[in-house]
Each structure stands twice: as structure tokens, then as C-alpha cells.
Amino acid sequence: MIKALIIDDEPLARSIVREYLESHAEICVVQECGDGFEGFKAIQQHKPDLIFLDVQMPKINGFEMLELVEQPPAIIFTTAFDEFAIRAFERHAIDYLLKPFSQERFDKALAKWKEQQGSGPAHDIMLNTAAQNAPQNQRVIVKNGTHIKIIPVDDIHYLEAADDYVKIYTREGSFLKNRTMTHFSQVLDPTVFVRVHRSYIVNIKLITRLDPLEKESYQAMLTSGARIPVSRSGYPKLKSVLGF
């Protein structure tokens, strides 16, 4: 039996997916979820094979939810986004259904999924693209045990590389996120977040002082009291953004 999950905030939108699934007896809907948080929990709990996922949802949107899942199952997006906005994800998701869609179109998406089963879509690429194209990069979603934490980017003090993870420092402490420094340097606003060192990205609004450390290397002092090393190549970047 194939386990499927429907994640959409509109009951009627979920009901139409259920209705279209009636002719596919092998697929069983294990749960319906109304927002990203619920969806995330349901994925952990049921480990579904297939998800019908809306993009625009309360709490966290579909892309943000997927970011949290370590090994996301196959995804079919169901969305009212216009084609242009969704095209970026076309090659990474199994398929995307533009609301409203027909039974024929729905069956075609399922056929596509069956075809691709086993070959394993490139989820990592998909997620990176998704993150960069997500409607709002005004916040970062992190997992803190079973808890989901939403960090507005303005609350980020600095980022530090930590092996395969990035440590995000905020007033409330630090959070780990399984992304690369390169990812963050692309996603965050480059006029606010500057990569001052191979292992550090800093929120320049919080820099209070810049002290010379050795020959051609510096140390930035933040309002929080943290000291961030600034490398030889990081210093000119800081200089041009801060304009001194």
C-alpha cells in the first residue's frame, strides 16, 4: 500500500485530491494537514511515500516545511501560483498541479510519479532552489528537537560554520541548520549579511567596533559582545558595504 499525505489549508482543496484519489485504490491517504507545522509532524510520524503539497499555507509555507524534512518523500505540488512562479521547481518535484486541475491532469501526475519511482529525484537540488525562490526570505526555519523555530532574519546576529551545519546565533541562543555557508551567503540580503570570514557571516547592523588584530586581519565587535574574526579577504567586503 502506498501512503500519501495531503497538506493544504483549504478543506475543499483537500477534498478534491481525495476525490481524485478514489480511482487509485492502491494509494491510501494516511492524514490530511492544514498547515506546515502539522504537515511536518505528519511526515515524521507516517513516513509517507507521496505528498500532495500546497505552497501558500499558514505558519510556514510548503517550501519552508520541506526544508525541515531530512529525506523528503516524493512531492506533487498543488498550487494556485501562476505557472511562471512555479516553473522553477518543475524539474525537481515530481509534478505540479495548477489549481483548479482535472482528474486527467491528476492521473498524469500520478503516472509520472510511478514512472520515476526508484530512480529517486534530486531532492537536495530541489530544496536549494526552493529556498532561493521561496516568496519570503525574511526568515529562517530551524528545527530544535521536535520544535520548529521561525527566526526573522533581522534577529540573526551572525552565522558560524560548524562541520556540515551552520550555527545561527540570535539573542535567544544558537540554532543548527543543515545548510552550507554558501547557501546562506546566497539567500540572505548581501547588504546586511556579509561573509567576513570563511566560517563567519555577520549582520552588519550589529557591528559596534572593528579592531585590528594582526597584520591585515581584524575583529568585529557586536552589540551582543560577540567577537567575530574578519579575514584579509573579508575586510574589503565589509569596507565596501559599510562604506568607510
Partner: protein, 347 residues
């Protein structure tokens, strides 16, 4: 037309005065009555012809570059011709010896006088043309600005959320099989709403009660989509029903309330709309809850109400008609529409 006649009369009066002065001067110098009259009339007619020639010339041709040098050249040429003509014509009359002497010596003076006159004409006409051109340009600019404003107003008014449309159609698609009656009802509501949105008639202002009806329609559709958790409360004084407000001015604020209050939250929500009349304003407040955890309100107008702000500014040249307020998890939008509006002429 009367303006032109007045101009002619003034010019004629000038000519007469000029001739009189000229005549009196010659009489004082002891020339005969006939000689004085002939000289005064002939030379002043030639003078006025020269002025007319300069005027006509400059009316049809004004060089873009080194304009003043051109004026001087034209005036000098015409003055020289005029002075020579005066001398030639006046020489044809039988005159006394003294007069002949005067005629011979005064050619230079006549030229100078003519040059002075024609240059004055040239400068005045240049001034007039410049003012005229500037007026034309101002008119064009005002026209262009008005057209741009109208286009912008139209665009701001026409903003329809495609998401809303497609999601509504999707809901209808879901209802068709399970609840056909409900599906038909929603099609009718959606059609009526769209008709109101697409209304292209000249009317920029509609009575408040019509606007509120349109909003109710919109909210009804949202209730079908989110019926299980959307409540709405619309309250209004009866006195405000007929107050004219700009068409669709409330729609974006209500859409905004729906976006943050309904799309971005999970529990039951109440969207509240209140309309009342104060001293000089029709005041509409829209209240919606929001999730402070996921959507951080921005500064100023925030929550994407810029188009409404802009539209109010274009209509009333004021930036203080839209205000927002956050109280706990309740977001309040207040829109004030000046009553007894006299600026309804921007069509």
C-alpha cells in the same frame, strides 16, 4: 476678437501721438506746415511698416541658436531700408532749401530711431513667444501628469489577486460533485464579485453601502473556502450609507486582513469592518487578528497597504488618510475618506 480690436486701437493711438510729436518738433524748428505734416506722416508710416515687418518675420521664423544676433541683424537691415525709403519718398516732394538740408543730415538719426524701435518690437515679441511656449509646455505637462495619474489610479483599482480567483475556482471544482447547489451559489457570487471588480464605468465614486456589499460578497466567497473558521462582522451607522467613497478603495485593506488574518493563521478568526461618519470624514476601520509568531508587522503602513496609500494620495494629495495600528495580535487599518468632496472632477 475684442482683444484684437483693442490692440489695434492702442497701436493707432500710439501712431497718432508719435506723428503729433514729430510734427510739433518740426514746427518748432521753423519748418512750414506742409513740410512738417508730410515728414511726420510719411516717416512714421514707414516706421510702423518696419515694425510690422520685424514682427511678421519673427512670428514665422525664430532661429534656435544665436537668436539675439539674428534679431539685431534683421532689425538693422529693415531699419536701413526704412531710413533709405523715408529719405527717397520725402525727397520727391517740392521742399524748401532748409528742409532739404535737414533731410540730408537726418538719415543717420532716422536709422538710429528705427533700429531702437524695431529692436523693442523684436524683444517684446520674443518675450511674448517665450511666455506662449511655456504656457503650451505647462499645458502639455499638466495633461501628461493627469493621464499618468489616471492610468495609475486605474491600475491600482484593478488589482485583483489571481490566487483568490484560482483558489475559488478550485473550491467550486470540489463542490460540483458533492454539493452542486453550493457550487452554483459560489459561481454566482464569484461572477457578481468579478463584475463589480471589472466595472469600467466612469464612476470613480460609489456610495459606501455599495462598496460594503461588494466586500460582503468577497467575504462570502472566502467563507466557502474557509467557512469552518472565518467569521465576519460588518457594522455601520445608517448615516454613512450614501456617503461617496472611491470605488474599490477598501478592497485591498480587506484582502490584506484576509491574507494575514485568515491565510496565515490556523484557528477561528473574526474580521471586523466598521463604518461611521465623523465631522468631515467617512471612517472605515478593518480589524483582523494575525499570528505574531510568523508574520512580523513592518514599520509604517506595513502589511502591504502601499497601493491604498498611494491611491488616497493621488485622490486627495494627503498621506494621513490611511493609518494602521497593532494591539496585541489585532491589526487595525483605518481609512478616512474626506466628506463633501469637491475634487470629483478628475475624470
Amino acid at each position: 476678437m475684442s482683444k484684437r480690436i483693442r490692440g489695434f486701437l492702442i497701436a493707432a493711438a500710439f501712431l497718432v501721438l508719435w506723428i503729433a510729436g514729430h510734427f510739433l518738433l518740426l514746427r518748432e524748428w521753423g519748418f512750414s506746415l506742409r513740410e512738417s505734416i508730410t515728414d511726420a506722416v510719411v516717416s512714421n508710416f514707414i516706421n510702423i511698416l518696419c515694425c510690422a515687418a520685424v514682427y511678421v518675420n519673427l512670428r514665422y521664423y525664430r532661429p534656435a541658436r544665436s537668436r539675439y544676433l539674428y534679431f539685431l541683424l534683421v532689425c538693422a537691415m529693415i531699419s536701413a531700408v526704412g531710413a533709405a525709403a523715408s529719405r527717397y519718398v520725402l525727397g520727391k516732394f517740392p521742399n524748401s532749401e532748409e528742409y532739404r538740408l535737414l533731410l540730408g543730415r537726418s538719415t543717420g538719426l532716422r536709422f538710429d530711431l528705427l533700429l531702437l524701435l524695431t529692436c523693442c518690437v523684436a524683444l517684446i515679441s520674443e518675450l511674448w513667444h517665450t511666455i506662449q511656449e511655456r504656457r503650451e509646455q505647462e499645458k502639455r505637462e499638466v495633461n501628461a501628469a493627469r493621464m499618468a495619474r489616471e492610468a495609475e489610479l486605474f491600475r491600482l483599482q484593478q488589482q485583483l489577486q489571481p490566487h483568490f480567483l484560482f483558489n475559488s475556482l478550485n473550491s467550486i471544482s470540489a463542490l460540483v460533485k458533492s454539493e452542486p447547489a453550493q457550487a452554483r451559489k459560489m459561481i454566482l457570487q464569484l461572477s457578481e464579485f468579478l463584475r463589480g471588480t471589472l466595472r469600467k464605468d466612469e464612476q470613480h465614486y460609489v456610495p459606501l453601502c455599495d462598496e460594503l456589499k461588494h466586500l460582503e460578497l468577497y467575504l462570502e466567497i472566502e467563507k466557502v473556502r474557509f467557512g469552518h473558521r472565518l467569521n465576519t462582522r460588518i457594522e455601520r451607522d445608517e448615516t454613512v450609507d450614501d456617503q461617496p467613497i472611491p470605488h474599490m478603495i477598501l478592497q485591498p485593506a480587506v484582502e490584506n486582513a484576509i491574507k494575514f488574518g485568515l491565510y496565515d493563521t490556523t484557528g477561528e478568526v473574526t474580521i471586523q469592518i466598521q463604518a461611521r461618519l465623523t465631522d468631515n470624514y467617512t471612517v472605515v476601520t478593518i480589524k483582523n487578528p494575525f499570528d505574531p509568531e510568523t508574520s512580523s508587522p513592518q514599520q509604517g503602513t506595513g502589511f502591504g497597504l502601499h497601493s491604498t496609500q498611494r491611491r488616497l494620495f493621488l485622490l486627495y494629495s494627503r498621506n494621513d488618510l490611511l493609518s494602521t495600528e497593532i494591539d496585541g495580535n489585532i491589526f487595525t487599518t483605518t481609512i478616512k475618506i474626506p466628506a463633501h468632496d469637491k475634487s470629483i472632477d478628475h475624470r
